[in-house]
């Protein structure tokens, strides 16, 4: 399958620092691709190269199998993190202008805008100036002009910032709908919750280098540490004593006679072995494997830890 976007061994240097060092990406069509990394990792540099705002010092970018060229600009939609609109310009006029800059014909742009304004129930904003709108309303307009020309590749940098939870949900649904209609989305964010919710694949960049990439499911599986959370009724001492050398108690907390503990399996022991060992001493209420959150993986990879600390537990 031809990837919609392929980035090959990109290098980018600025006067006194390296922004990207040999970074490669492979973005499958019709998927949501998370581009993660701490501040200053090089994400924005990479996104700007994909948008042809700047060029790489070394390396190549392919769009739909072709060398990235100026003509591809019209097939890409970009919502930058640092975004805004002309404050003194009317909403409709401005949207028409930006749509035409993306290569839409005047009549086409008008029809599409009317469709979106109706969908978001903002038809009466057309003649208002941007500065008369609230921050959240401006963000809605900004989102519309980003997706209006139905780009094949949509690059969203922190798309949910500035939205209240209700509008964030609205935008989330729109993003999923766009993907189902055939768009590919590159999604850059610090919000790991939304990465788990939305992304199919991710790449993690830190200090100009790619540290990790793959599907979200696979990555989370890989970073599992064979840890389980058990809630039970009964005697905590008896439970602890019944753990044999194959498991280690990491954490415990009690609420009257209901206890919850985190246990890490050692060696090749299976969960069933553990259950058998403790069954006689406790009435099991729940038993879950702890799968690391993207948040944990992110922190762990960035801080270069080998084992995962699962204290901010995410259960599945």
């Amino acid at each position: 399958m031809t990837p919609i976007l392929e980035v090959k061994n990109i290098h980018k240097n600025y006067a006194n620092h390296v922004a990207l060092n040999n970074v490669s990406l492979f973005v499958e069509p019709q998927k949501i691709f998370g581009l993660l990394g701490p501040n200053g990792a090089g994400k924005t540099s990479l996104i700007r190269i994909i948008n042809q705002i700047t060029g790489p010092d070394k390396g190549e970018v392919f769009f739909n199998g072709e060398h990235l060229a100026p003509k591809h600009v019209d097939f890409i939609g970009y919502l930058p993190e640092e975004r805004g609109l002309y404050k003194k310009m009317a909403v409709g006029e401005q949207a028409m202008y930006l749509a035409q800059l993306k290569g839409l014909k005047k009549t086409e742009a008008k029809a599409k805008l009317q469709h979106w304004f109706k969908k978001f129930e903002i038809e009466n904003w057309w003649d208002k100036k941007i500065e008369e709108l609230s921050k959240g309303m401006q963000q809605k307009v900004q989102f519309i002009v980003t997706v209006l020309h139905e780009p094949k590749l949509l690059i969203l940098d922190e798309p949910f910032s500035g939205f209240d939870p209700i509008n964030a949900q609205l935008i989330k649904n729109e993003i999923l709908e766009l993907r189902d209609k055939g768009a590919t989305i590159i999604f850059s964010t610090h919000n790991m919750g939304s990465v788990e919710e939305l992304c199919d694949n991710i790449a993690l960049i830190n200090k100009a280098e790619k540290l990790l990439d793959g599907s979200v499911k696979e990555i989370r599986k890989t970073y599992k540490s064979n840890t389980f959370k058990i809630t039970f009724k009964g005697n905590l001492m008896g439970f602890t004593n019944s753990l044999w050398a194959g498991a280690e108690l990491i954490e415990k907390s009690s609420d009257e006679d209901v206890h919850s503990v985190t246990v890490k399996m050692l060696r090749q022991n299976k969960p069933n072995d553990l259950l058998q060992a403790v069954l006689g001493n406790a009435e099991i209420l729940s038993f879950n494997e702890i799968i690391p959150s993207m948040n944990d993986i992110f922190i762990s990879v960035v801080e270069n830890k080998t084992t995962l600390n699962t204290q901010s537990a995410f259960t599945e």
Partner: protein
């Protein structure tokens, strides 16, 4: 190409539709018309007759001060109180008292009483007349022949004549040339500052509103910069054109309707003078030198007719446009390097310095239009739009003009390229205060 057109359109219409554009368009000509019409109006307004009662205790001036169109003198005797009473009655506008010692004093100080302050020209007139009378009186006292002095005092007026390429003689006037040159230079200066600053503000606005990254994901930064510069240039041309049209309309209205009678008077006078001049010509050249052009405006118009209009107009259009384009690119670069207008200062000074220097040396250029200084600065692209305008009415060799134009176009290309490099990096830099050193580094970033 299509996208560049879109940008130019937006830049143009978003400015032309602003209220401030309308206000400037209306106020500009009113101001200009005011500058042109008010002096004429003022000159004509003071034509009301002033009646002056002269109480001359010395007796020297009685019946000697000549009446003029505006001032009529009446001489009398009596007490000053009685004379002042005439002011109150309204039979006289002014009362002048000359003391008995006026002839012998080192300095004569007549007193002029008034109810309504007379204009400075009236005071001047009385002053001059009395001085002349005193002068003649003293000379006569020393028995010197007045006629001899009259003959000894002859005016000199230099007629400058340019020998043109075709060997024809062409009468020129340095003052008129200077006036034309300076006016055109000032127009270019205003265009550069007014609209160059608009380009800069536009760039800063795009940067602070954070729309710039959205736009450069659709078009090249250079296109955006060029579109803005061209769009604003068209706004400037529109404004200048409207100003010219309105100024002409207003001044024709004012001179044609409001001051119709006065102008007609003036015309009659001029015609008579021309007749006199013609008569003199036929009568013999001896009298020629006595005849002076009586009206400065007429003089100016005559000289203006001698200036090569098409040549200057075309050159003006060229320097006007390219001078603006060159500086607008630099202003755009400044705008891209800062976060707010308050931060522009450190970069503004070096950019505006050549313009200010141009005006500083303009006076020197006008006094010696073919000096090495004038030649250099009228060819150097950062100063040529202004300095060449000052030189042009005096006549500039074709090769120098061509060299200056070529170097301005090259300078425009070079500085636009340079500005583009700074612009492209600057618009995406937020929050940091830019130094000159960084600006230098930006030039070497790869696209």
């Amino acid at each position: 190409m299509n996208k560049l057109l879109l940008i130019i359109q937006r830049e143009y219409f978003s400015r032309v539709k602003k209220k401030s554009f309308l206000v400037m368009t209306i106020l500009g000509p009113l101001l200009m018309a005011g500058v042109m019409v008010v002096p004429i109006w003022l000159a004509m307004r003071d034509k009301t007759e002033h009646k002056i009662f002269v109480l001359d205790h010395s007796g020297l001036f009685i019946d000697k001060i000549p009446n003029s169109k505006e001032i009529k003198f009446t001489y009398g005797v009596g007490s000053i109180e009685a004379a002042k009473a005439k002011l109150k009655e309204g039979t006289f506008d002014l009362v002048m008292e000359v003391d008995i010692e006026a002839i012998n004093n080192q300095k004569t100080t007549p007193h002029l009483y008034y109810k309504k302050q007379p204009g400075i020209s009236i005071e001047q007139y009385i002053n001059n007349s009395m001085e002349n009378i005193l002068f003649d009186y003293r000379l006569q006292g020393d028995s010197i022949d007045l006629g001899k002095i009259e003959r000894a005092r002859r005016p000199v007026e230099i007629a400058t004549i340019k020998v043109t390429e075709d060997g024809e003689d062409q009468k020129t006037n340095s003052e008129t040339n200077m006036l034309v040159g300076f006016s055109l230079a000032i127009a270019i200066y205003i265009m550069i500052f007014l609209y160059g600053a608009q380009v800069m503000r536009g760039v800063i606005e795009e940067k602070t509103s954070r729309i710039v990254e959205v736009i450069v994901s659709s078009v090249k930064p250079f296109q955006l910069m060029l579109g803005k510069i061209v769009g604003v240039a068209m706004v400037g041309l529109t404004q200048f054109l409207l100003w010219i049209i309105f100024t002409v309309l207003i001044s024709t209205f004012v001179t044609g309707v409001l001051l119709k009678d006065q102008i007609a008077d003036q015309m009659k006078q001029n015609q008579q003078i021309e007749k006199v001049m013609k008569n003199d010509l036929t009568a013999g050249s001896d009298k020629m030198e006595k005849v002076k052009t009586p009206n400065e405006a007429l003089d100016f118009m005559n000289n203006l007719g001698k200036v090569d209009k098409t040549h200057i107009a075309l050159s003006f259009a060229f320097y006007f446009l390219f001078g603006y384009l060159l500086y607008a690119a630099l202003f755009a670069a400044i705008g891209s390097a800062v976060d707010s207008e308050a931060d522009t200062q450190q970069f503004m000074i070096p950019v505006t310095a050549p313009l200010i220097i141009s005006f500083a040396i303009a006076q020197g250029v006008a006094t010696d239009p073919d000096s090495g200084l004038a030649q250099f600065f009228s060819i150097f692209p950062l100063t040529s739009p202004i300095v060449m305008m000052v030189r042009l009415p005096f006549g500039v060799p074709v090769w120098e003009l061509a060299l200056s134009m070529v170097s301005l176009v090259l300078g425009f290309l070079f500085f636009t390229w340079l500005a583009g490099k700074i612009y492209r990096t600057g618009i995406l830099m937020y929050g940091k205060k830019t130094t000159w050193k960084e600006l230098g580094k930006w030039l070497f970033y790869k696209g």
